[in-house]
Structure formats: C-alpha cells, structure tokens
C-alpha cells in the first residue's frame, strides 16, 4: 500500500478556476519534480499555477526526507481558499426585554488566514498534534458513517488542559483549521465558534441559563447545514462549567443553572454529526465532573521538552534570518543530528548549533509563549542594532535566559 501524502494548495483569492481543473494543474505541476517533505512552494515558476495558486505545502511533520517521485505516494490534494474576513461577532438577544444584543461568540470561517501556518509552528512531544488530528478525523468518520452511538460511545468533545502558555487555545484553533482543510472534500466549509463565556452571564437572576441555551441554539442553527463542519471552542471552560459541588452557600444558584444548561445542551448537540466541541482549561480541578466525563479525549499539554525547545528557538532564529535581523548564515543543524552524530571536526555551524542546544537545555521548564518571547527580549535588551551575527545573537539569547530565570526567582521571593 502506498503511503498517504497530504498536499495543501492555497488558491488565490481572485482565482476563478474550479477545484477539479486546478487539481489537474497541480498534479501536472508536481509530476516529475523532486522535493522534500514539509516543503512549501510560494513563488511558482509554472505559469498555469502561478496565476491561481498562492502556495503549495507538502505535509509531513515527522521527517523531511526527499521525495523522488510522486508516483510512490497516494496523493491527497486539498485545494482551498483562505478566508480573509477574519473574526466576526455572533450576537444573540440579551433577553433584557429592551431588544439589545450581546456578543455570544467569535466566528471564523475556515480555513482562515488568521490561523494559516499556526499548525506548523506548534511543537509538542509524542506526536500529540498528529494524534489529535487523527482522533478528530476518526470521530467525524464514525459520525458520518452512522456508527451506532449506543454500541460505540463518543461525544465529540475534547478537553485540553495544562499550565498557561503551552498553546492549548492555539492548538484548538490550528486543529480546527487543519480539519477544515483535510475534510474539505466532505464538508464544503468549516466554521469555528469561540464562545465568549463571560458575556453569557446575565445581570438578571435565572437569565444566564437561558443565554447559554440561546448560544447553543445558534450552534444548532449552523449545524443544520450538513455540509458544514462546526467546531465550538470553549476557552477556559471552568468559567462555564465550574464544579457544582464546590459552590458555597453564598454563590447564587444561577451559576449552577448555567452548568446544568451547558451539560444538557452538550448532550443535545450529540445528534449533529458535524459538530465538534473543544475545551481548554488551566485548572482541571475546578471543572465539573459531569463535563470532564463527557470529554472523549482529555489531553495534557505541558511545557515542551528540550527537543521541542530546540525546534522552537530554531524556527524563531530562521524567521529573524528571513527578515535580515540576523545576518545570513548556514542553517542550524537539526536536534537529532546534533545529539547523535560523532563530530571529529567542529565548524562554526556545529558550534552555533551546540550553543543553541545548551541554551535549550537551560530553558527546560519554560512554556512555548515565553520561549517565543525570548528572541524579542534578547534583541531589545542585549543587541539594539538592526542586524547582528548569529553568534552574537546566541550570546544575547543565553544572557536573556539567565535574566528571565532570575526575574522568575525574584517574583517568587517577592510573593512569598
């Protein structure tokens, strides 16, 4: 059996070509060419393609081996246009009786330009990303084929939890974007709805539950269209599903009603096979057990390991090279190469890679958000000129890591 190779083709916004025609153009363009996995082509030389295609991306996260011929693979070509409109606000009636509306959710049409390239830049260990994507694909396949939910139970709910800054929300958005691309043959359009939990609480007693109901009826309305994939993201889910057992006497029972409304509405959504619920949380203990139980996948997202840190920092340095903030030099070696190969001669390139490896080890325990901030801080605090060499930048990066750790220590001693 040939291995599957996903090829993502971004069609230009004003291109009027139909999908089937473009599919043939892409196939013809790829035939007979050699390229490596994970490659992205932006400026296409092929005249037919350059008029209609923005970029072609060969997907494979795990390795970057060269592809000799596309004949050896089962090609899955996904052609899509990116939505440029960005986020829109979905409003529902506030129920105050004055005809006012409250914004209930942020709405994106997928695939959206806002999330393009996000997936490739999220780095986790043990193939968490790929596994989640496959789980989601299976979920939708089961639903689509009408597998009896009484025999095999699944709720189409995933819960990502872990410390702040590890990219849970970004992962959900990237996952939604990716699903919309991968399933574009089945679903003509994907939609991501990010629930504004805070606006679902009304000033009137007992109204919050009704607002939640109205919000979910909006989701149902969108899900009525069987050709559309609806992904609901509930960020910081503990605010909507706070553990009912922990409600104290002074807490208004309205909050309890909200939790009840969410849970019953989730059950109602089960009948729509094209709806997926993604939830994220920092404090798992605070979430109501009934909600946790409904989640099919409860995935812990922790800070990245050294390999991940190395990859994140390399991607940051590559971006700075692209923008000429770091002067052009040879590319850094990959983590596997630098940790496994026997080195007899240490050239500049290997020396730089080793320094970066040491920095990555020093950074262990820091989350993705902080890691992606470090190059910015390094430039701001220790470089302060428009362009510098890679060596100088790595030195600055090492300094900034020490500084950041000291800052953290000071903060802890300050609060103690």
């Amino acid at each position: 059996m040939k291995p599957v190779l996903h090829v993502e083709v971004v069609q230009k916004k004003d291109s009027n070509l139909l999908e089937t025609t473009l599919n043939n153009y892409v196939l013809a363009g790829l035939a007979g060419r050699k390229f490596s996995k994970g490659a992205t082509f932006k400026n296409l030389s092929n005249e037919l393609l350059s008029d209609h295609v923005e970029s072609i991306h060969i997907c494979d996260e795990t390795n970057t081996e060269a592809i000799q011929s596309i004949e050896d693979y089962d090609l899955q070509i996904h052609i899509f246009k990116l939505d440029n409109e960005g986020v829109q606000t979905e409003c529902i009636q506030s129920g105050d009786g004055d005809g006012q509306e409250v914004s209930a959710a942020q709405h994106w049409l997928l695939p959206s330009r806002d999330f393009h390239g996000l997936w490739e830049n999220l780095i986790y260990e043990f193939n968490i990303k790929e596994n989640l994507l496959q789980c989601m694909e299976t979920t939708l396949l089961f639903s689509d084929r009408n597998v009896s939910p009484f025999v095999i139970t699944w709720n189409r709910v995933i819960l990502l939890h872990g410390p702040p800054g590890t990219g849970k929300t970004s992962l959900c958005k990237a996952l939604a974007h990716k699903l919309a691309i991968r399933l574009s043959k089945r679903y003509s359009q994907g939609q991501l709805l990010e629930v504004n939990s805070h606006s679902l609480f009304s000033k009137w007693f007992s109204e919050s539950g009704k607002l939640v109901m109205r919000m979910f009826s909006k989701v149902r309305e969108l899900a009525e269209n069987q050709d559309s994939l609806v992904i609901v993201l509930i960020d910081e889910v503990e605010s909507l599903t706070h553990a009912r057992s922990s409600h104290s006497g002074v807490e208004p029972s309205d909050a309890i009603r909200t939790v009840n409304a969410v849970i019953t509405q989730l059950d109602n959504l089960k009948q729509y096979s094209n709806v997926l619920i993604m939830a994220t949380s920092n404090v798992t203990e605070a979430i109501d057990l009934a909600f946790v139980d409904r989640a099919d996948i409860k995935q812990y997202i922790g800070p990245p390991p050294v390999k991940g840190i190395y990859k994140i920092l390399t991607s940051c340095l590559d971006e700075l090279k692209r923008t000429n903030i770091i002067s052009q030099s040879d590319g850094l070696h990959s983590y596997d190469f630098i940790t496994t190969s026997n080195r007899t001669v240490v050239d500049d390139n290997i020396a730089d890679s080793l320094t970066l490896l040491q920095i990555s080890r020093d950074c262990e325990g820091l989350n993705g958000r902080t890691l992606r901030k470090l190059p910015y801080l390094a430039h701001a605090l220790f470089i302060q000129k428009p362009s510098s060499s890679l060596k100088d930048f790595l030195e600055a990066l090492a300094k900034v890591v020490v500084k950041h750790k000291n800052d953290l220590k000071d903060m802890k001693s300050g609060t103690a």
Binding site: K13, L17, L18, Q88, E101, H107, K218, E221, L222, N225
Partner: protein, 287 residues
Amino acid sequence: MPAPVLIDVNLKDVLTASMCSHLAIEFFKHIAYQRQQLPFPYKQLQSVIRRKDTLETNADDQPVDNTSGRTIHRSCQVVQAETEFKKVKAIMESMQTAFQCLEEEICNANGMVEEVAMILGATPLSPRDVYRFQYPPLLHGHLDSKHPHQSSLLELFRCLISSEQLHTFFNQPLSPTNMYLFLRKNNTDLVSCGFSPKERYNIPMSGKHAIIRLMPPTSLPKCICGGTNIFSDKPKDQNDSHVEHVIESKPDEPQGLLWFQAHHTLKGFKDVKINGTSVSTVWLQSR
C-alpha cells in the same frame, strides 16, 4: 424555519440588463437603511460626504489663519468627528465599489445572471436576513436608452412598501453587521472582476428570507428600440416558478448554476453622537 416572504413585482416595461442591476442596487440600498446598517439613507450619506469633501477642499485653498490657532488647537470633538468621517467614508466608498462591480457583472453577463442576493449576518453561513432578487429571462436586443428605469423602480418600491410581511422584518432590531453580496449565474462563464465562484455553496436556510421576483409584462408594450421578443438562453422554464422551486437552496441545485461572492464585504455602522449631536452634523459645521 418560517416560510420565506415572496414578493412578485409585475413590471410594465421590458427588462434590460442595466435595469436589472439598477433595481437590485436600489433595493439593496433600501434594505441597508431599513435594517439599520446605515444610519441615514444611502443618498443622504453620500451627499453629506460630498459636501464635507467640498468644505475640506475649500478650507485647504484658503490661507491658514495662524493668529487664531484654530488649525492647531482642534477640540477633542472635532478630532473624534474626523476619525469617524474617515471610517464612514471608507465604508461608503467600498459600498460604492461593490455596487459598481455588481452593475458591471450583470451588464456584462448577457442575461446569464439568474439571481442576486444580499446576506446580512456575521458570515455568509450564519445569516440573520437574506434578501434574494430573482430575474426573469431577458429579451434580446432592447436598448437601455429607450427603456427608462423610473417606472419599473416605482413599481418595485410600491410592491416593497405595500408588503406587510416585509415590514415585520424591519421591526426587529439588528445591530450593525456584515452584508455579503452574491450572484448566481451559469458556471460556463467564470470570468469576473469583483466576484469569485463559491463552489458547493448554498444559501443557508437559517434566518429570515425574502424573495423578490421580477415578473416580465404579460403583454409586451409597443417598443420603439427594435428589440426582439426572443428570450435569452436560460435553462429555467419561465412557467416553472412555483414556490417550492424558488426556495430550493438544497443540494439539488439546477445543473450548471453557481453562486459567486463579491470580493467586497459591506459593513454596517451606526451613527455616532458627539455631545448629543449627530456626527454628520458636526462634519458640516465649519472647522
């Protein structure tokens, strides 16, 4: 889902392509105002912007009076009004371009455009209101100059205003949202400047729907422009327009018809009040 509101407009004159676009654009302008996406009627807003622009150019031509320091110390309200003006002007310009594109598209399509639609809502997949405007097959060879639009426009607005059902739409408040323009035509001609094809798109059934159908005159009036009585080629049978067929939007779309979405999305906006005065009044006050 409530049944869509159907409004049949029986025209007394022959429809030409330019008349088709004119009627649709005037209808959309009317809807934008009635559904609170524009704080004032379209024409009024345009004239206010034009007057403000003339005021600006006149003021620029005059020597700056430095002694009073008026140009330097502009009050907070004036700055706010200026910011608002830039925003409104950009929205109105984009709206004008979108309508121009629609006009070109209909006029160049040789009667291939079956229908145009305006969707009000956050995205084209979550409509609050849908207004569809359907055309009958056009007759060949009629000249625009010999068929003035006025009488057909009057007929259209008479029907719109006398429709009670349509007025129930306007009674419910709608906060400023997006307005998406769509047109449906044959997929054999994909070339278009301001529109791109949206494959596998159907207007969702949610929200409130209104369908305006233009009906050609039953007996053709005497025409002096030399136009024929031959209909342009259309797959749809003129008599086959019973309600079920018109409201489809289901996967069993007529073969070869495709929805095209406008590149420009129209944005609704509200009037801003500065110290209790409408910002448009502040614009026209001398600086």
